[in-house]
């Protein structure tokens, strides 16, 4: 079985400050890890993925994530948050030989001006 945990329901940050959204996972074998963002009444938008290679992955809108195998974590980061980053963020995983994604429960990010 595979699972994802996002320990924070909500993260509040001031505009211009660094943003971190935490994610830990459990999967047999090598993981394929993803971050998606969801704006109100919209579908999920892909931000970035880790498949293999460099542990630091850069994605859309200035976001990046670091894969840490020993801690089974894949935290999402942005050096300087914008008010427009306020949204719901989902971490997801599937095993290397699989396809179906298992999502975390989501973390709501609120960036205040």
């Amino acid at each position: 079985a595979q699972s994802v945990a996002q320990p924070e329901d909500q993260v509040n940050v001031a505009e211009g400050n660094p943003l971190t959204v935490k994610c830990t996972y459990s999967v047999s074998g090598n993981p394929y890890l993803f971050w998606y963002v969801q704006y109100p009444n919209r579908g999920l938008q892909f931000l970035l993925k880790y498949i293999t290679g460099d542990n630091l992955v850069k994605g859309s809108y200035g976001f990046e994530a670091e894969f840490n195998k020993s801690q089974t974590s894949f935290h999402l980061k942005k050096p300087s948050a914008l008010v427009s980053d306020s949204a719901l963020y989902f971490c997801a995983v599937h095993k290397a030989a699989g396809n179906k994604l298992t999502f975390g429960g989501g973390t709501r990010v609120l960036v205040k001006p």
Binding site: G43, L44, F90, N99, K100, F103
Partner: protein
């Protein structure tokens, strides 16, 4: 089209009514997925197609749920005798062959009254 298209965007059904939700994947995408997203939760896997073959339907919650993709392109998720617990957003996603990211549609919000 440029993205995954789902219709209708909103559907209100009376309890016991049958509904059909449509998904138009990105042209040429081999893989198609259906997910169910309850309010305030992360999406949960329902079923997966590779071309016209339904390879995994382990997430379908009951035999009232049925999905098809007869020509390997458009897919329909059908729910028979809807119940209130079926109220959710139903997301469709597609991806190209290989382990790449899935692209999501905007979803169909189903409300059973």
């Amino acid at each position: 089209g440029a993205g995954v298209s789902q219709s209708p965007r909103y559907k209100v059904a009376k309890r016991g009514q049958d509904v059909a939700l449509r998904c138009d994947p990105i042209s040429g995408h081999v893989s198609l997925f259906w997910y169910q997203q309850a309010l305030g939760q992360g999406p949960e896997f329902l079923t997966y197609f590779q071309n016209e073959a339904q390879l995994d339907k382990s997430g379908l919650p009951s035999d009232r749920f049925f999905a098809e993709r007869p020509e390997g392109s458009v897919s329909t998720l059908k729910i028979q005798r809807t119940q209130q617990e079926d109220s959710a957003v139903y997301l469709c996603a597609s991806s190209s062959q290989g382990n790449t990211e899935a692209f999501f549609g905007q979803g169909t919000r189903l409300t059973v009254v």
